[in-house]
């Protein structure tokens, strides 16, 4: 337990420290969301209709791209070697890093989402719904992304490759996230079912992703 706490604490600290990725992730999210209207046009009705989707895609990209250095940094500075040589289970390393990353990067983005939602002219209900679903679903994105980060730990060109590996896996999360949000806003659509599925994704990936990630790191060692 102390081991896991140590890993999480270190990850959070490295993230929010100068040079860490937490701030950059937040600004990236802001920039991506702000850039969309320049393409789509300033029509507020249209924006409020696709707003939840924009926010979800923004969170998706920000979480995936920020994961780039999650394990490759450990590999490059040798701490992955030392951790493995220490004999502690790699699963805990993956779990701790993922949780820490979500706390440092994912959570601030979720908190910032409603502010950006205002700019996309979302209704108060939609704002609440999108924040709630992001809160429930973004851990799944981080966990899935962590598997990608573990797979690419040994490679130079991390960022985009992670996204490519992981985007297909994250699409279901995205779909249910947007579905649940719309369910809360438009009456006939269901909210509870997709929301529960979203929570299930997060919980399931919290269990499975560390296992898969540990395997990937092990294999990438060589």
């Amino acid at each position: 337990m102390s081991l896991l706490a140590a890993i999480i604490a270190q990850t959070v600290r490295l993230g929010i420290r100068a040079g860490g990725g937490a701030l950059v992730g937040l600004i990236f999210f802001l920039a991506v969301v702000a850039v969309v209207p320049f393409g789509v046009g300033p029509d507020l009705n249209l924006l409020s209709r696709i707003g939840p989707a924009i926010l979800w895609i923004g969170v998706l990209l920000a979480s995936l791209l920020g994961l780039e250095r999650l394990f490759s940094a450990d590999r490059e500075d040798g701490s992955l070697d030392l951790y493995i040589a220490s004999g502690e289970p790699i699963v805990l390393l993956v779990l701790g890093r993922a949780v820490g990353h979500w706390l440092a990067t994912g959570l601030p983005i979720v908190v910032a989402a409603p502010v950006l939602g205002l700019m996309l002219n979302l209704s108060p209900v939609a704002l609440g719904a999108v924040t709630l679903t992001l809160f429930a679903g973004s851990p799944a994105l981080t966990f899935i992304g962590a598997v990608g980060a573990a797979l690419t730990a040994g490679l130079q060109r991390g960022g985009m490759l992670i996204a490519v590996l992981v985007l297909p896996l994250s699409v279901p999360v995205l779909i249910f996230g947007v579905m649940a949000t719309n369910g809360a806003v438009y009456d006939p659509d269901p909210f509870t079912a997709p929301f529960l599925i979203l929570c299930a994704f997060s919980l399931g990936s919290a269990v499975l992703a560390p296992l898969a990630g540990a395997l990937a790191l092990r294999v990438a060692m060589e």
């Binding site: 040079g19 802001l30 702000a34 046009g41 300033p42 205002l118």
Partner: protein, 267 residues
């Protein structure tokens, strides 16, 4: 003991050179700072009193026009601050002026804060006036882009651990951004005039009445003084931060500069 690199460019500008001495800057700014702080407090106090209690409500906008007295100065300073950073960047790239780096770095968070204020007060004003917190209007989006540029600069600064390198790299970005701002403004203008829904009200409105103009101008002066105070104080902090860093590095790595003399191999 301090050794000045013999740079011909620098010798040509002895006035700047004098100010380039951080120690001189520190003593000078220490003397100015209290006066500047007092002045900004006084002017802001007068301005606030005028803005909140003296200025009449607008015949169209009601009392909400009082938001203007913070909104407009904040917006002006947001732009002024970027201009200052661009000038400092020229200073640090062309003359390698050590204070120019410091000035640009110290200004960025302050500029970001004022830009945020312009955005926030604008939104809060927009809700009662336009019925929405945000429209993708040309002027608003330009300010939003400016805000993101401030944040990007701050992130870039934080990403380097060597302040000298960070300063020069950020200076390049600041200048690139400065060249781009007119382009962004102009393209956003065009973009918006093509697509703008008719419902959105034009900014500016009727020409400002003197009873509002005076409080506005006084608030603007107050904000500018406040900005200068904060900037000066932040520059001092930044100089101290660099001295701390340099001292720590010296302590950790190597006590003093090496010297050496070439000698012929014996025999």
């Amino acid at each position: 003991m301090r050794q000045k690199p013999a740079r011909p460019k620098k010798n040509a500008m002895s006035v700047v050179n004098q100010l380039a001495n951080p120690t001189r800057f520190l003593s000078l700014s220490a003397r100015i700072l209290p006066w500047l702080a007092a002045a900004s407090a006084a002017v802001l106090a007068i301005g606030l009193w005028l803005a909140l209690f003296v200025a009449p409500p607008d015949y169209q906008q009601g009392d909400s026009v009082r938001i203007m007295f913070v909104h407009v100065p904040a917006a002006w300073l947001a732009m002024f601050c970027y201009t200052l950073m661009a000038l400092s960047s020229i200073g640090s790239l062309v003359w390698r002026h050590p204070l120019a780096d410091v000035s640009a770095k110290a200004a960025a968070p302050i500029g970001a804060a004022f830009t945020f204020l312009a955005l926030f007060t604008g939104s809060v004003w927009g809700k009662p006036m336009w019925g929405t917190w945000w429209v993708w209007d040309a002027r608003l989006t330009s300010v939003l882009v400016l805000f993101i540029m401030y944040l990007g600069l701050i992130a870039l600064w934080r990403a380097f651990d060597d302040p000298g390198r960070a300063g020069r790299v950020a200076a390049v970005l600041t200048l690139v951004g400065f060249v781009n701002i007119p382009i962004i403004k102009f393209s956003v203008d065009w973009w918006n005039t093509l697509h703008q829904p008719a419902s959105v009200m034009r900014l500016g409105g009727p020409t400002v009445h003197p009873s509002m103009l005076w409080p506005l101008l006084i608030m603007a002066v107050g904000f500018t003084l406040l900005f200068l105070t904060l900037h000066l104080a932040a520059m001092r902090t930044e100089i101290f931060r660099r001295r701390v860093r340099a001292a720590q590095m010296r302590a950790a790595v190597q006590p003093a500069a090496s010297v050496g003399r070439a000698v012929a191999a014996h025999g």
